[in-house]
Amino acid sequence: MRTVEIAHLLKLEAALDLRQRAAWGGMLLYVVSAVYVAFLAVKGGLGTATWNALFWIILLFAAFNALSRSFQREDAGRQLYLYTLVDPRSVILARTLYNAATMVMLSLLSLLCYILFLGSDALREADLLQFLLAVVLGGIGFAAVLTLISAIAARAGSGLGLMAILGFPLVLPMLLAIMRASKLSLDGVAWSVNSTYFLGSALLDVITVTLAWLLYPYLWRD
C-alpha cells in the first residue's frame, strides 16, 4: 500500500467514470425521480422532522444505488490483472476514497434537487454550516460502510438486492447518528450539543475503513 498506488488508482477510477458518463446520469436521474415522487406524494407543507427524514431516506437509497456499481463494473479478468499490479489494500482504500468523493457530490446535488422541489422552509432556523457538515459526513459514512459490502455482494455474484440486505442493518448506526445530527442542526442547536454526533460518526468512519482495510485482502482472492 503506497500513496502513489492510491493516486494512480484514483486516476483510474476517474477515467473509468469519465468513460461511463451514463452511469453518473443514471445516479442523478435516480435521485431526481425519487425526489419528484416524494414531491408528488407529500403535496405541500412538510414539518422539519419529516423533511429531514425524507431527505435521508432518499439519500440512503441513492447511496445504495450509486455504490453498488463500484465493484461490479469490471469483469473478473481485469480485476485479476489489477491485483497483480497493486496491493489489494490500496484498491480498497482508493475505492473508499473515490466512493466518498462521489457520495459527497451526490449528497450535495441531492440536497439541491430536494430543496428545489420540496422547499427550504425547514432550513429557516437551521445552522446551515452544521447541516452541510452533516450531509457531507453522511455521504462519507455511507461510502465507508457500503464499499466493503458492495465488494462482498459483487463477489457473491448478486446484484443490488443482496447489497441492500447486507448493507441496511450495518448502515443503521451511522444513519441514526447522522440523522440526529442533521435534525439538531435544522433546529439550530449549538455546536457543543451536536459535536458528539459528528465525532461519533467520524469515529464510525475510521473503524469501518480500518476493518475494510484489514479484511479486503481475504476477499479478493478466489
Binding site: A156, L204, L211, Y218
Partner: protein, 334 residues
C-alpha cells in the same frame, strides 16, 4: 463422554434458577391507595397490599414533607385490605404525601390540596413494629413490574447467551480467514443458528414484558433497535451464505461479513447508546433506576447469575448439537 459434566451443570443450574424464578414469592408491598387526592377534613383512605398479612393493631402514618400525622382509626378488612379514617390537618404543605403502613412505604400516594404552612406537632409516632411481613427469601416488589419481575431471569439471559454465541461465531470466522477450514465455517454458522434462536426467545419474552409494563409490544428504544439490527444482520448473513454456491468462497465471504458486522454491532449495542444520553425505557438508562439501585439487588442476583450461567451453557450445548447435525447432513449429501 468426557464433557458430560458441564451439560449436567447446565441442567442443574437451569432447573434451580427457573424453579426459583417462578416460585419465590414477592416481598409484601402496598400496591394501591385511594383516593388519589386529599383535602383537610375527615377522609376515608383505602389501602390494598400485596402478599401482606395485615392484623389489627398495626401501625400506619402519613408523611407530608417531613411532617407526620396518623389516622384516627384503622379497620383491617383482611390480609391485604385496610380502611382508615383520617382527620387531615389543615396545614399540609404543597407536597405529595407518602403512606407508611407497617413499615411498608407507598410514596407520593396523595395529591395534597391543602396548601398550608405546616402543622403543629401531632404527637404521632413513626415507630413501626413490623408484624405483617412475609419472612424468608423474596423478590423485590416494585410498582409497574410487580410479578413480572420474574421475567428478568428469563429475558436477560437470552441476550447474554446470544452475545456469547455470536462471539463464538465471530471467533470461528476469524479462524476461517486464517485456515480456510470448512469445519470452522460450519461451527460459525451453527453458532449463528443457535444465536438467532436465542434472539427470537429474547424478543418474545421482551415483547410480552413490554406489553405488560410499558403498554406496547414494540417501542422506539435503543435496546429494541439494537435487537432488531442484530436479527437483521444475522438473517442477512444467512441470506449471503445461501447465495454463494461454492463452499470455500461461501466460507470466506460469510466470515468477512460476520467480522465486519460483529464489530459494527458491538459499536451499535454498547458504544452508541453511551455516546450520548439516548433515552431508553430499560432499567438503568434514560433516568430509570436499574434493578440494583435499591437494597434489593442481592435477592435477584442469587437467582440471576445461575440463570445466566445455565442459559449460556445450554446455548453452548445446543451449538454443539447443531454443529453435529450440520456435519451429518453434509456427510449424507456428500
Amino acid at each position: 463422554m468426557k464433557h458430560w459434566w458441564w451439560k449436567s451443570l447446565a441442567i442443574v443450574l437451569l432447573l434451580v434458577a427457573s424453579i426459583a424464578a417462578l416460585w419465590v414469592p414477592l416481598s409484601p408491598a402496598l400496591v394501591h391507595v385511594s383516593p388519589s387526592r386529599i383535602a383537610p377534613g375527615e377522609t376515608t383512605v383505602n389501602i390494598t397490599g400485596y402478599n401482606t398479612a395485615f392484623r389489627s393493631g398495626i401501625h400506619a402514618h402519613f408523611v407530608n414533607d417531613g411532617q407526620v400525622f396518623c389516622p384516627q382509626r384503622i379497620d383491617v378488612l383482611d390480609d391485604t385490605h385496610i380502611s382508615m379514617v383520617v382527620e387531615v390537618p389543615a396545614g399540609l404543605r404543597e407536597h405529595m404525601t407518602d403512606v407508611v403502613v407497617d413499615g411498608l412505604n407507598y410514596p407520593a400516594a396523595f395529591f395534597t390540596e391543602g396548601l398550608g404552612e405546616g402543622t403543629e406537632e401531632t404527637g404521632c409516632s413513626t415507630e413501626t413494629v413490623t408484624t405483617s411481613h412475609q419472612t424468608g427469601f423474596t423478590f423485590p416488589n416494585r410498582s409497574i413490574l410487580y410479578e413480572s419481575i420474574r421475567n428478568l431471569h428469563f429475558h436477560v439471559p437470552m441476550w447474554f447467551t446470544m452475545i456469547a454465541l455470536m462471539g463464538i461465531s465471530v471467533w470461528k470466522s476469524i479462524q476461517v480467514l486464517g485456515n480456510s477450514s470448512l469445519h470452522d465455517d460450519r461451527k460459525a454458522v451453527s453458532a449463528v443458528h443457535v444465536g438467532l434462536l436465542f434472539c427470537a426467545l429474547g424478543l418474545t419474552t421482551g415483547s410480552i414484558w413490554a406489553r405488560a409494563t410499558w403498554g406496547a409490544f414494540w417501542t422506539n428504544d435503543v435496546k429494541l433497535n439494537g435487537a432488531a439490527v442484530t436479527a437483521l444482520i444475522y438473517l442477512a448473513y444467512l441470506v449471503l451464505r445461501g447465495s454463494v454456491p461454492d463452499a470455500y468462497k461461501r466460507a470466506r465471504l460469510a466470515a468477512i461479513y460476520n467480522i465486519f458486522a460483529f464489530v459494527l454491532l458491538v459499536m451499535f449495542l454498547f458504544v452508541v447508546p453511551r455516546l450520548n444520553a439516548i433515552d431508553s425505557l430499560h432499567p438503568g438508562s434514560g433516568g430509570n433506576s436499574g434493578f440494583s439501585d435499591l437494597d434489593l439487588d442481592d435477592r435477584l442476583r442469587v437467582v440471576f447469575y445461575p440463570a445466566v450461567a445455565g442459559w449460556i451453557l445450554l446455548g453452548a450445548w445446543l451449538y454443539e448439537l447443531r454443529h453435529r447435525t450440520l456435519r451429518i447432513i453434509e456427510l449424507q449429501n456428500a
